[in-house]
Symmetry: D2
């Protein structure tokens, strides 16, 4: 057990979690976006807030951007700003859902001109990647239909394959396409990439630089997500996670808040296949909204939740587990896994943080830091960042 703890500390010290810039802007539901005092007003302020999360956790050194929400005149300057704050730019997210032209689809649209526009948008994103040093282009395709018969499902799929090929052709060596799937929303009859199978089929057709993004909120009720993690790792195509929690739909709650055991089981498959190590290239990203709670503490809590789940997964006694599994000892094998889950890993993580010169409790440290009061005081006037901003 001592050895497991030492190895866990080692692995945890290398684990990084990527933050979403949009997690620091206002968000909400179709019914209401509640504003909050001190919320960032531009990409520079979002990076400042993200840097606070890294400062206190030591585990969140990258920030995803979303284009056009994070459009700036000078991306080199933005990247330098990030570096000055101790973080760097992560994945670049394209946006295929906020233009009036996309009412009936983007990369799948019946009209070639609309598809062209959607493809060209990715050229802009790749240019942002070049200027910021990003290597991951993340593409969530929101396309879908609301009514049976509204469009031809097969034709949409064929147009999608064609469009994706053109997007893929924009990539330079060393760049990856991260292709996300989602069960439903913003359309409610059919979604054009609704499941991992569809995403994977397109990735396989595109080539080695295309991998699947698994958003933990994008599945049908009851789906065993850790199985999909295992399967995508098995075929070498798990590119990234979008972490968050769901109880019902794509609720975008704080990761680990709705079902911490599920997060543990996911990290257990990751650790079992060694995919927690940086060389696996799996990008562990957060994709969350903080509709009610404060943004920065919400992200800090999220990073801590991923760390705790990872720590527990690292404490699984895999030798004993394999023995029990081979022997068909159902209860023993389950019990060995549960022993790790039942462990209180907060002291272990406190130890890690203190060894890194950090406060043992990032959440409390941030609360004491005065940053929240400062931004609430200083960020007055202007337009707070949000999904439409």
């Amino acid at each position: 057990m001592t050895d497991l703890r030492a190895a866990a500390l080692d692995a945890l010290a290398q684990q990084t979690i990527e933050l979403p810039s949009w997690g620091f802007g206002n968000s909400g539901t179709r019914f209401k976006v509640f504003g909050q005092p001190g919320v960032a007003r531009d990409p520079y302020e979002k990076l400042e807030d993200a840097a606070q999360v890294h400062k206190h956790t030591g585990a969140a050194p990258r920030v995803s951007l979303h284009i056009p929400w994070d459009r700036v005149d000078d991306y080199g300057k933005l990247a330098a700003h990030a570096r000055d704050l101790g973080v760097r730019i992560g994945a670049i997210n394209s946006n295929l859902f906020q233009d009036d032209d996309y009412r009936l689809g983007s990369l799948t649209h019946p009209d070639e001109a609309v598809r062209r526009k959607a493809i060209d948008h990715h050229a802009e994103c790749v240019e942002v990647m070049r200027q910021t040093g990003s290597t991951d282009l993340k593409l969530w395709l929101p396309d879908g239909t609301n009514y049976a018969g509204q469009d031809d499902l097969r034709a949409r799929q064929d147009r999608l394959a064609d469009s994706l090929q053109q997007v893929y052709a924009l990539l330079e060596p060393g760049m990856r396409l991260l292709l996300e799937y989602k069960f439903f929303e913003p359309y409610f009859y059919a979604t054009d990439i609704p499941d991992w199978g569809t995403s994977l089929l397109h990735c396989l057709a595109l080539g080695d630089q295309a991998t699947v993004v698994l958003d933990t909120g994008h599945h049908a009720p009851g789906t065993n997500i850790e199985f999909i993690v295992m399967q995508l790792l098995r075929v070498g195509r798990l590119g990234a996670f979008d972490f968050n929690s769901r109880n019902y739909a794509d609720d975008d709650l704080i990761v680990g808040s709705a079902d911490p055991f599920q997060l543990f089981r996911i990290m257990n498959e990751i650790v079992a296949q060694g995919a927690h190590r940086p060389e696996s290239k799996v990008n562990f990203m957060l994709d969350q909204c903080h509709n009610l709670e404060k943004k920065i503490p919400g992200q800090i809590r999220s990073v801590m939740n991923v760390q705790e789940a990872t720590a527990k997964a690292l404490l699984v006694d895999r030798e004993a587990l394999a023995t029990a599994q081979r022997g068909g000892e159902v209860l023993d094998a389950h019990g060995i896994l549960m022993d790790a889950y039942s462990t209180d890993v907060r002291p272990l993580l406190a130890q890690l943080r203190e060894s890194q010169g950090l406060d043992a409790d990032p959440y409390a440290a941030y609360a004491r830091s005065g940053h929240q009061e400062r931004i609430e005081r200083e960020r007055v006037g202007g337009q707070q960042a949000g999904w439409g901003a």
Copy 2:
């Protein structure tokens, strides 16, 4: 069968479906609201559009209002405008989700001052009822929490009971409170009125003027909705429907578009208990969004879908059905119901409309009427109505 058809025509002639004013404004998802040319810019224009639906279907003589979206200076004038257009004001909907004060709840809020504000809002709604001749106060409680522990579920329920009592006390004789439940959204951990049981418990505590609203999109996956219809009728507390369709969450699609057989089964329970008759006081309302499709034709199609489902339910041979059920003839009984469902009732409804001096096909008649072109041409400038308007 001839007799059934004659009786069906008779019943269909008396059936009315209430339209939502907000169905004629822009709507969308949290990701995007797509605007449409010609969309109404104020409550007067919404009524004009709603009147078109009634003009062509002959079955939609009432329009629900939503306060504050439909706030005007002079409600008497608005009601007169409706009468001039051949329709009248139906239920008044309160709004408990669009004020910054309601971030943590409205009628359930921990702070008494916020609860007071939410209760007072209903006094305004009751005043609108008085001035417009409306008898139904519809209350959908959006309150809920996003995280376990965020608030005390029991305390919220007790505060809700207290607030509802104060709202109920505002009602005059002849007025009803319609209390809606919803499985989830806009909150994602716990909803304070999540199911028909909770809504009914509060109605029973309030008194005879309180009844339940069943929104067909507000249930967990797999819920047998017609069972709930039956149960609420059985205890005399089904006040109204909010009709729409769902495949996943509260999708608010056109009623009958996702599962027409379900709509038929619902109307079958209604007809079996005689609740389709006006004296039952069940208010058949639409509550839909038309995010992609045109508003007025979307509502026309919806009214037609309800009519078709009702017509099929009226054609069920209930005598034969009862005999087969009593005899335990499973396949025969099921077959008798399916015979009615398999019937093409469009000719029957065409006959009904022609007997009323209407076009046999309301959808086509509207398309030919020129109204759509006129509003797209004339309604330029100003702010289109929408959820935030």
Copy 3:
């Protein structure tokens, strides 16, 4: 915190969990029942196995019986056998699903003679209660239909109300009717008591001796079960739990194995309202199948899981929680709850057991006890108990 731990130990010492006799017989799915060596062959042996669970956990002093599976000639003798083993007879479960006459229903059957038979069966159960000293009559109504139209939903409900009244009339003072609901299975179109609302309506109509049973596996996907617990406590009608775990349907897995956080949230509502105390009369029962794992260790693990969830709920700092909730501090309030959940309570429970003269680890103690080897060796020949036995 010291005070919370002391109070928790006190409360845990009083907590009891009731075991199901059928959990010690063979069980399975419609596809296969896998037999296991040493499984009990009659009610006497089931009691012996149940007594093992109590011997090692000290928390399981009652055993539910199921009639006819546990029919014996002399119930007084069976009860005495239980007492000799250190346990006693708990709830008596009736069976309305294993007679050919019940193909189309039992208490709801169209034929009065079948309903009579089903009612009379409860007279037998009440007689067993008298002879064994049981006070709880548990009634799960499996009735339902497979096809729309197969039977009249309303008529079935009315017949049910009438039958239940006759069953209720059989009760003596001090006896309770525990009425269970279930989302679906063994019928797949409509279930006659599908939700807590229906069960509660019937209980309210019957009288004070009727209460609801909440089986944790009997809900639609996504249902917030702790909300229902809160609501039933609020109206004073939560009679009992049937504890188990589900991922999909009524999977009947070990309680706490699929979603330990859900079990904690349920126990948190229980503790918040003081319903963990014996005087609340809430009966905490297990209702599980052990299809793959050994029966006795499976039940021991289950009892331990309920104890751990209860212990965590008892460690919630309710004063701090209430303060954070009143202040609208979303993340703080959630964090206070999670702090209790993150605590490793196994040492606390070990302390409890040792103070009671028990081994700190009941699972390991049973494994060492030799009982399993003894029953596998001795129980040879005869028919193992099972659902049909």
Copy 4:
């Protein structure tokens, strides 16, 4: 429209639906199997009953066998018996769930000897194929686990891939492997082939003779099944359907009884890609249980339901639909599809049957035929066929 009807008649005349031998034996739930008078007692009698379905519908000329349920001494004789009755042997189904050795898995079992046994069972099935002239080997893998940690998900997948390769190697040219997936049951934590993506991955690894079976009851709630149909057709790997209906889990109800509009949408994707034609090699099979209703009429009703859904799909005005879709006319496009669905196709199918010398109403014709009375009278004694038989 006349042309569409003529073409539809032509296509319907070529459509065939395969019957499951086990649909003519007793079946039920884990709670109870209700026996019925006259149920077949051996494979020969099952074929006689299946032949009745074909006799009256003219559309069900093949019968799937299930090994070992349909084991006989002389398969040549059984095939000849089928031919004499006017039908022939269809797919051969293997059984991996009814042996005590399979408690922890079959093709995925940790123990090589158990895997070997499961592989060898397919050699027997291929031998039955040779002797009966069957070309389809259908493999549903029931394997899964009940508890997290019980076994290693990845190792199971690797063992599965290896086992499947050995099964695949048994196939002769012209034989196909049909690989089925299922969301859950008989295991409740993880299923080893839970979705179409996993099934397809294995088929792609195996080779061209491996295709996916889509059972309409084997998906998560809310899954858009017609999308999967489209996708599997697009990649050329839809081998067969297992048709049935579900409301909740794998309910195995009569196809088209729970959601006839879904069945229509599925057949619409089939017809849109021409896959209804015999040369597509898609095998349209029923896989149903008739727990409450009579077996032969239940199968007749099912065949009729598939025919009606197909007829409606054939009546879709695809030219008008494509125009509306290209033009982005959401409501028009949806309306064109719904027009076909709203059509009463029973007269068209009556016409088809009469042109084939059949009664217009197969269900009524069977009822009049006296077969049911004869088998209820004659099949006395012996053991009725069932899942364990």
